[in-house]
């Protein structure tokens, strides 16, 4: 299943609802383009909702890190919401769990940007 990305706005935060796989090729490129587009438009608060992401590989991890660093360089924030067990597992093994702000509750995640 390829990656699909749905975008919505809530209280000044742009939420990307991701669904599918973030892997080398299509999924990683889609995520990269979406993040660059938002950063290019001056969006400062980005929340990646990963509750329907059932698979991520090292390339996908790289895109999450790139999204994080690209945003930081533009004084923006990328945070993560609703990790599946598999994605959480991979983030913990690679110590990236300590890098990102991660939330299980959307309201708390939205509030954290203020």
């Amino acid at each position: 299943m390829a990656l699909t990305i749905a975008t919505r706005q809530l209280d000044g935060v742009t939420i990307l609802d991701l669904s599918g796989r973030i892997t080398l090729g299509e999924g990683s490129v889609q995520l990269r383009d979406a993040i660059r587009d938002l950063i290019g438009k001056g969006v400062k608060h980005i929340l990646l909702s990963l509750g329907n992401v059932n698979y991520i590989d090292s390339s996908g991890l790289g895109e999450l890190v790139s999204a994080f660093t690209t945003a930081k360089n533009q004084n923006a924030d990328v945070k993560l919401l609703n990790l599946t067990k598999k994605v959480k597992d991979v983030l913990q093994v690679t110590k990236l769990y300590t890098v990102f702000d991660i939330y299980d509750d959307e309201a708390h995640a939205i509030a954290s940007f203020k």
Binding site: T23, L24, Y55, D57, G62, V65, K86, V93
Partner: protein
């Protein structure tokens, strides 16, 4: 947990992402046939996929004149998967540590680390040309009162 079904499957594929998907699917079948639970299956399949991507992308560089060899075997005690490319070779000792603070925010360099993290044994062999990775995941037998404290690492008696 069902009993493991032994057998060996091997094939050669083109250096394409379709081949990566084919290798990933074969790994998934292998773990399912071995009765592995979903979490362990995910880890093994992910490691195999990373090895396949390395072979296709970094080893063979998508070269249509180079192939990727893959073999899958359930020995009854372990799952043994080999992935080989025909590239210039890889020295695993030269790879930077992706957990080091200076590397943590790098966009690449986690593939081999994930393979090593998710499997019990990983062996590199230089083929001149190419690199072969042999990935081994020990199978955990159904627990009995005598071995209930035994874990995967304890089974590594080779």
């Amino acid at each position: 947990m069902t009993g493991p079904q032994t057998g060996r499957l091997s094939f050669k594929l083109a250096s394409t992402m379709d081949s990566v998907a084919e290798i990933e699917a074969a790994a998934e079948k292998l773990t399912q046939a071995a009765g592995m639970d979903e979490d362990e299956s995910f880890r093994v399949v992910m490691a195999v996929r990373e090895a396949a991507v390395n072979a296709v992308l970094h080893g063979n560089g998508y070269d249509p004149n180079k192939q990727v060899s893959a073999s899958f075997e359930n020995t009854g005690k372990s799952l043994v998967i080999s992935i080989a490319d025909q590239g210039e070779g890889l020295d695993p000792d030269t790879l930077p540590d992706p957990l080091a603070p200076e590397n943590l925010l790098r966009g690449t360099g986690r593939g081999i680390f994930l393979i090593r993290s998710f499997l019990d044994e990983v062996h590199f062999r230089q083929l001149h040309p190419g690199t072969e990775l042999t990935l081994i995941k020990h199978l955990t037998p159904a627990a009995t009162p005598d071995d209930v404290t035994q874990n995967d690492k304890d089974l590594d008696t080779n």
